[in-house]
């Protein structure tokens, strides 16, 4: 587990099931390639909303944690 300083890893969504469903739903009619593109757009939109490099670096580290490569960015 990675300790975070800026990134909030406690729950914040009031209706988590709704969001999760919407996320999966977004991909339902999309091809693999379209889904990859939609995910990439989503990440860029959310990163801009967060607007803080340090927070994003922490998120990047957690996202890649344990995935067959050293978590060095």
């Amino acid at each position: 587990m990675i300790e975070t300083r800026k990134l909030n890893v406690q729950p914040t969504l009031s209706r988590p099931d709704d969001f999760y469903n919407a996320l999966v739903e977004m991909h339902r009619e999309l091809s693999e390639e379209q889904s990859r593109l939609a995910n990439a757009k989503l990440i860029l939109l959310l990163a801009n909303q967060i607007g803080d490099e340090e927070t994003l670096e922490e998120a990047l580290k957690i996202a890649a944690e344990g995935l067959n490569k050293p978590t060095v960015f």
């Binding site: 990859r36 593109l37 990439a40 757009k41 990440i43 860029l44 939109l45 801009n48």
Partner: protein, 557 residues
Amino acid sequence: MLQTHQNPVYEYVHSADQDSPTPVHHPVIVVGAGPIGMAAGLDACTQGIPAVILDDNNTVSIGSRAVCYAKRALEILDRLGCGQRMVDKGITWNLGKVFFRDDLVYTFNLLPEADHHRPAFINLQQYYLEEYMVDRIRQAEQLELRWKSRVTAVEEKEDRVEIRVETPDGEYHLTCDYLIVADGANSGIRKMMGLESSGQVFQDRFLIADVVMETDFPPERWFWFDPPFHQGGSTLLHRQADNVWRIDFQLGWDADPEEEKKPENVIPRLKAMLGEETEFALEWTSVYTFQCRRMERFRHGRLFFVGDAAHQVSPFGARGANSGFQDTDNLLWKLKLVLDGKAPERLLDSYDAERVAAADENLLNSTRSTDFITPKSEMSGTFRDATLLLAEEYPFARGLVNSGRLSLPAVYRDSPLNTSDEASFDGRMTPGTPSTDAPVNEGDWWLQLIANNRFNGLYFPQETDGGLGDRELTTLSTLVERAEVPLDIRVVGAAPRLELPAGIHPVADSKGVLKARFDGRPGTFYLFRPDQHIAARWRGLDREKIETALQRATGRI
């Protein structure tokens, strides 16, 4: 192919140095008469250092090659006496457009601010620049350019460098205090000295086509990602002088360079892009690959490597030639002070510290642009496309689009020559930054005033009614008198009627631009190096602090 330009052939001239029984000595010898080598020679001349430039060829650049010259390069060329001809002949542009597939994604303006003498960029074929520089060298005294003179040996001795020069009528030897190596990306001297430039080779090929056409396209930089006329690749369009247009197609690594540059293969690509009905003539084609690499150090004893010999970047961002001019801009004033015994030899180490850091910044930027333009993985390509798709309608994504981060001058943030701020200032003019410009006096420009190859002070006096207090005047005149290096001081708003001592000049800031750009509250003093970079600044006039900063900026402490 059509020719809008005839390369001059410069005559080989036998030098009296060749008949001397012992090697003739010159303070500075420059190897290579490309733009950066000639800038080194002209800068030496401007500083008052006698110099010789040697080149193994006898003409200017074959083909247009480096075509984008940035504001800072023009300002440096102004100091060397070639800036105006560049701007007069060149195509001034500030606007860039980025397209993705069929759509315009966004438009950017590189110089959104008024009140600068020089534009953000001009485009001009490299051969014109070189011709202007040759003309300037011919007018210069104590500066010689010797064609058909190849350096075949370099030997560093304790107090000088000895070189062997091969010419059409035999070999001869020369010695110099300092050798400036400007012999390009495949530097022969670098190899001769057993030195390396290391980095990354990019697995991609690009086709350059220079095309002559009469068209009403505006003078803007147009960049396409994956356009319908060249699917899967990128394309760049730039206007040069004489109705010549530079078109650059990304071909991919598997392309055959010899086949691709044949007119029968280039013309269909151009017709797809320009339309069947557009009339054009092909002037020059070339297929290139590129590397991003640099030498570990740019100073090796009495040898100084500049330009592509020292560092090489991808063409995206126009950071090659533009950064080379900043190398010689940085080096020559230092050589002058050391040759005159006014600064210790270790000042020359700051060339290495400052320009290596600048090269790293250019390498980082150009590598990132390359990665965006030619994604190295499928996911990298997905993010690239996602960014471009968003950028058309959502402004935030435009900042992520990278079709080349266009050359900006390096800020020597961590230079040992800087004196740190003690107070806070608004704006961008931090120590290590090249001075910004401003309109001053009647039709002058600030950067022209301080293009005098001296240290310069800028003082915003306590009183803003044109007067100067006795204590201020004493401090300023003592500074100028006692300075161990040439120093001029300009006092903002000082009334012309004031009798000012030698070296102290009034400067009128009628539009208030100087005051705004330097956050010039009363009492503020800036110290500029001869290359116009800021060495130090204060909120009050303190002679001792200024003298200490001058010592630091000249490597004496």
